[in-house]
């Protein structure tokens, strides 16, 4: 059970990392974050249904498509509101989220869907503990992507430039960093993370247009719990949220498990107002 919490926590981590990169770098609350997750799931679903490509193999394609969707979104929408007031930035992503949800309803109807016969299925037993394989695959995939993104931000020159922007935009610009290009890049990377998470989730989770809403809300709480803009924070918080969800669902009622998550968030920020790893 705890393992199941850990595994789903890894996926939450990946979603939250995507959100926290965007949030930390551009200071934009991306309300459409969950909707990009939904798009990732639907792309996997389409690949699986029409071309019979398993979600695991279509994952790189999903990542690339979402990366470019992120770039386009940045160019068309986000760039225009970056100089505007904070609230305009909220509104634009909210509009985007409404649009994407209903575009999905329009294209694929509001029905619940599942991918038929994915490769990753069933359960394995390790010393008496049953582990569901799709969840295991999703958590390992999430961990790998998280690690890659972490490496990208912390070790590469571009990544360090992104981190510099999130610390002080003006100083970074003065140092000759091309903020516009890196904004685009980090937005695209953020969207890619959540899209990959969607592809991984599509192995075992229902796919429907409103699915992103709930994951989006959880991602907000996760990011805030970890501290805005902190990748380590998002990782730790994601796993905490996964654990809290499973344990809360077990000890209370499953219906209340997300209330437990929110309660933990509120509890943590009361003690440390900037989240676990925030500055």
């Amino acid at each position: 059970m705890i393992i199941s919490g850990l595994m789903i926590g890894c996926v939450f981590s990946l979603i939250a990392i995507g959100l926290t990169i965007i949030w930390g770098v551009m200071n934009i609350i991306n309300f459409a974050h969950g909707e990009f997750l939904m798009i990732g799931m639907f792309i996997s679903f389409l690949f699986a249904t029409y071309w019979g490509i398993d979600p695991l193999f279509s994952l790189p394609v999903v990542a690339i498509i979402l990366f470019f969707l992120g770039l386009i979104t940045y160019r068309v929408l986000i760039k225009k509101v970056l100089k505007g007031p904070v609230l305009a930035q909220l509104v634009v992503t909210f509009g985007l989220s409404i649009f994407l949800v209903h575009l999905a309803v329009f294209l694929w109807t509001a029905d619940y869907k599942m991918i038929q016969n994915p490769i990753a299925t069933g359960k394995i037993s390790i010393s008496g503990i049953f582990i569901s394989i799709p969840e295991l695959v999703a958590s390992i995939g999430s961990l790998i992507i998280s690690a890659v993104v972490y490496w990208f931000i912390k070790k590469t020159k571009t990544g360090m430039a992104i981190e510099a922007i999130s610390m002080d935009k003006d100083a970074a610009a003065l140092m000759g960093i091309n903020t516009d290009r890196l904004y685009a890049l980090s937005f695209a990377v953020g969207i890619m993370c959540v899209g990959v998470a969607g592809g991984l989730l599509s192995n075992f989770y229902y796919i429907f247009p409103e699915v992103g809403f709930f994951f989006g809300v959880i991602a907000f709480a996760t990011v805030a719990l970890g501290g805005f803009g902190s990748i380590e924070g998002a990782m730790i918080a994601g796993i905490l949220v996964g654990l809290a969800e499973i344990l809360g669902g077990f000890f209370l009622a499953p219906a209340y498990k997300y209330a437990v998550v929110f309660a933990i968030y509120i509890g943590v920020v009361l003690i440390k107002p900037t989240g676990l790893k925030g500055w």
Binding site: V81, V91, H102, F262
Partner: protein
């Protein structure tokens, strides 16, 4: 906010206009839109006490709205108490809840408060969804009684609803106007600009924030009761949904934050838009109307990021904040 000073002519014009406007648009549908506009304007004013004055971006207004709607409906269902009394009780319950939210969260800044209020409202929604006493996910419908003012139900025409909500709106505007000039109003604006500076000058920032949240919650809860009696059906997704909280923020900032007229403009525009599209295209089905609504929101916020009213105000320099 010079709405009453030097702008008296405009204020009186608007007042008269709002009184006669339901006779210009007599169809039930257009009156429905008018009622929703005033309702959302009230919600927007309540939000701007927090967001515009105190700088606390609340994404949890739906919690107060739901408390107002549920309190009066439950009292009416179980004990036959008039919604007017339920309204006041709901308002005070919302104040209690606001204290529970704001007292611990007062030291949270910016986004952290936003997410805390969001998490708070979502938790409340989850609890209500699973609580048998309040009807759970099935929701509640207030008993249908013959048209009476005391039970706040009118079946023949929507006109009384309009004037009741308009009356509430005038009260709220008056409160906002008073608040603007009051000591509390100045404190709130001071702590919005800089929490630390305000505190060092002896403003008890935590108390101010709690009071502001309380006022905002009270007003929102009253609007919630009105909504319950107007629609005559409530369930957690309709009165406590995050989308409601966000729409309140949206409308306020759409019209321009920090003005009394802002929420009215934002609500007029967005409600009309969404309702007209809903009726015109909702039948075509498959979320077409909301797709276009989303696109319009995106277009407007990229082209006019300062909000419609901010744009007009910049041109005319009228009615700008203080």
């Amino acid at each position: 906010m010079k709405i009453f000073k030097g702008q008296k002519g405009w204020a009186i014009f608007l007042l008269l206009f709002s009184l006669v406007v339901p006779f210009l648009f007599t169809s039930p549908f257009s009156r429905h839109i008018l009622i929703l506009i005033i309702l959302y304007s009230i919600l927007g004013e309540a939000w701007s006490i927090l967001g515009g004055y105190a700088g606390l971006l609340s994404f949890g207004q739906a919690a107060f709205f739901g408390i107002g709607a549920y309190t009066s409906t439950l009292m009416l269902l179980n004990w036959g108490v008039s919604p007017w009394i339920g309204m006041v009780v709901g308002g005070f319950l919302a104040i209690l809840v606001a204290i529970c939210l704001a007292y611990p969260c007062a030291k949270l800044q910016g986004h952290y408060f936003a997410i805390a209020s969001l998490a708070f409202a979502e938790s409340l929604k989850i609890i209500f969804l699973n609580w048998k006493f309040v009807g759970g996910a099935r929701g509640l419908d207030p008993p249908i009684v013959p048209t009476s003012f005391w039970y706040l139900e009118f079946h023949e025409t929507k006109l009384p609803y309009y004037y009741i909500i308009l009356g509430m709106f005038f009260c709220v505007t008056f409160i906002m106007h008073k608040l603007n000039r009051s000591r509390l109003g100045f404190y709130l604006r001071a702590l919005r600009e800089s929490n630390d500076a305000a505190e060092s000058l002896g403003v008890r920032t935590r108390n101010c924030k709690v009071i502001a949240t309380g006022i905002s919650g009270f007003i929102t809860a009253i609007a919630g009761t009105f909504y319950a009696q107007y629609i005559l059906y409530i369930d957690p997704p309709s009165v406590m949904h995050l989308r409601l909280s966000i729409e309140i923020v949206l409308m306020t900032m759409f019209g321009g934050v920090g003005t009394i007229i802002g929420p009215v403009i934002g609500a007029s525009f967005l409600i009309t838009l969404s309702e007209v599209f809903r009726v015109a295209l909702g039948g075509a089905g498959r979320g077409m109307d909301l797709m276009i609504y989303g696109i319009l929101i995106m277009i407007i916020s990229t082209l006019r990021p300062e909000g419609i009213w901010g744009f007009i105000a910049k041109k005319g320099k009228v009615w700008s904040l203080s």
